[in-house]
Amino acid sequence: MNFKNIRFAVRDNTNIYKLELAKSLLYFTEFDFTYFWEQCIEAGKTARKTGRLPQNHVTTAKSIISKAHPYIESLIASDFSEIVTDCIIEYICMSDRITSDELWTRCISSKNPYENAIFKRISEYKANRAINQWNNIVRIKEYASNKLAFIYDHDENGSSLKRESIRARRDYFDLTASVSANELRLPCGRLPSATFCNAASLPNSTFVISKVSKAVYKRFSDVFASVPDESLPENRDYTYTKDKLAMDAYGYVKGMPRPTDIEMKFALEAFLETPEEVYLPDSFKAVIDLEFNLMLKEDITIRRCKSCSRYFAADTDSIYCDRVNSSGKTCRRLHEESLKEITPNPAEATLSGAENPDSAYGAFSQAYVPPWRLVPPPNKGVSVPAEMEKQGQKLYNTLYKRLGKGMSENDFKEWSQYLSHMKRNVKTGDATVGQLAEFLSYSEELAEAVKAAGKIYKTAENLTSNTSQYIQESFDDTMNRPVASVIKANETHEMTSAGIDFKAEDFTGEALPENTAEPAAEKIKPFTPESFASLSDAMLRERSEKDAGVSSVPVNKKYIEIKEPNWKRMTREEAYAMQERDLNADSDDEE
């Protein structure tokens, strides 16, 4: 889909930035801040030791977060310049369970530049010259996600949304926020807003279109030379005197004749370089609201993909997105393929001309209700149980502590991403709690293996020179091998400690002693989530599990042999009759 672009400008900056409607919003709501957070924590830990923030971590973290949204990118050198310090402050307050006020008091008599940076930043919060931007981004992301869901989530019946109902939802959402602000007695006139103007009317247009501005100044230099200095304090309220100020300024140039053609041509060239319409949002929330408003204006519809449950900008009636998923295909493509599998051969089908679809599945679905439509939709997501959250966090901490001592950074990143995706999938209903439990138990084993690998490293240093050389070599090998091999090396080391002779090749994992309990490769097996060749397989599997009374949390998997379905085309009446039978059977069971 081609996204419409708009241009926006920010204060204290003469650049004009591009914003892709819908795309930037969806990207922001799905942005993963984990890596940014990790970089900030790492920077904080280093700063605690050295007394100053490491610039490499700060630069990396800032470059990561600036990709989250064009607005953040536009202000990364001003409003968001201290985002890393903000994140560290948030982390310290969370981990020490103190308020930023208490942290500020701790840092008043700062001993090093790091403490001074924290003190200065919190002082800025106190003097209302800044807010914790990290906290702000997190809250804005939540706001955007909630607004997206409120406006664009489909009803229970799955009917497509009309423009009027989208507008009503948006207005209702905004009005609710306004009512809340009013009840809190907030100055509603000062809440975020975006103004719209041409580039020449921007507050800093003199510097944005500097070439023409210089020419204008040259033309009126005599007049400007006699202008008195009327600079006014910035903090004064000019709400009711704006017209007066503008007219006072215009008064000096009101007699201006149109410039010569050459001058106009020169100006034209400069103006053509600037966009015709520029938005001027005064805050991050204002940009988000602006996007929602313009999406509605431009008739850009957002839908939730029926396959991956993520939002996408829809240009057709499709309810499947064009994102490439883990299978390497887009959700829409997968859906089309699954349709082809269950659709009878067109040659055999005796569809009349009116029923025969041309190309769109939308028309096809109206004429012919395929059996898969009668299968109940996938389970709705459930929240991750608290104990699993806790277990996941514990594992995260365990593995994080052993970074570089048994687990490489890339492995850890991959693992943590898998964990967060798994949790998200459980929430969206794409994975079951059982699958998450399975992954966590696998991770427990992984953590044990990593711990063991760490021990080897420690013990290797204490052994005699000959032995330590062997073990060190083996450890170096181990660090480059999969986790399973690490277990082997660990077991061999344990035997060494018990007085069993060993050879150098033992550490390579090639020749294990006979009394080894079990091959290490069997001890840890890589986690592989269940996969199905097609949608029908998945549905059949689920049904057969239900029929067999198997709980959703599989303990010992029994793979049920599923025969290839022999689809027969049925009429609409037959299909509804079948659905009714199923419903009746369900209600009988409940009774």
């Binding site: 008043i108 002082s123 106190k126 003097a127 903090n235």
Partner: protein, 234 residues
């Protein structure tokens, strides 16, 4: 010679005399603390005055007090709150007359030096001679009672301390008198000037309380250096 001998003899024999490893260093160090404290109070007044320029509703004055009182020899940490003392924000204070306030502040701290007699470290305290030398050092560094604005004197304080009588409270009364009599730009009735006269009362009292504690701690620190040195030396 005789004086030095007696002094040395007194140090050796006197059980209740507070000795410093280097008396000159100690007195210089303590006089520095007093002068820096005076400068800090002088700058703090300017910083808080600048708050009324445009940050009256942005900055909590309690935060400024916290910063000042946490480090009573350095007021520049107030810059973190966005406060600036420049020719514009403190334009009413840009006069040679107002510049007399700094020596006056240091003087009003100096006349209270005799209170150090009450500082005891292992039941030892500073001698009158040490206290007088400290006072003279501070005066030599620029403290001055311009137009005798400050009614307190060194001798009066010394007398009150010796008699164990309470000292008059440390107030900003002399500061206000000086402003009304010598700095017309600050004596004018404006929002900023009324704010200045209001916070000065609180600031002077709170500042002196913390300053006194800091000065006492420094005396003990200098004395402790000496005692630890004596212990090490056997």
């Amino acid at each position: 010679m005789l004086f030095n001998f007696i002094k040395q003899y007194t140090h050796l024999k006197g059980d209740d005399v507070l000795n410093f490893i280097s008396e000159t260093n100690a007195i210089n160090g303590l006089s520095d603390v007093i002068v820096k404290g005076g400068v800090c109070l002088y700058n703090s007044i300017k910083y808080i005055y600048s708050l009324a320029e445009k940050d009256f509703y942005n900055i909590n004055i309690k935060d400024t007090f916290k910063i000042i009182l946490n480090n009573i020899t350095e007021a520049d940490s107030l810059k973190a709150l966005g406060l600036r003392i420049d020719d514009y924000t403190c334009r009413e204070m840009n006069s040679p007359e107002y510049n007399r306030v700094l020596p006056l502040i240091v003087y009003c701290l100096a006349v209270r030096i005799p209170t150090l007699k009450n500082v005891r470290c292992d039941d030892k305290c500073m001698t009158d001679d040490q206290i007088f030398r400290l006072y003279n050092t501070v005066i030599a560094k620029g403290a001055e009672n311009y137009k005798d604005i400050i009614p307190e004197t060194f001798l009066e304080t010394k007398y009150l301390v010796r008699k164990g009588k309470p000292l008059p409270p440390f107030t900003a009364d002399w500061y206000k008198v000086f402003i009304y009599s010598s700095v017309p730009s600050l004596a004018e009735i404006t929002n900023k000037n009324m704010f200045l006269l209001g916070f000065a009362d609180v600031l002077f009292a709170m500042f002196y309380s913390c300053f006194e504690e800091e000065l006492h701690n420094r005396v003990i620190e200098y004395a402790a250096d000496n005692s630890s040195d004596t212990d090490d030396g056997g």
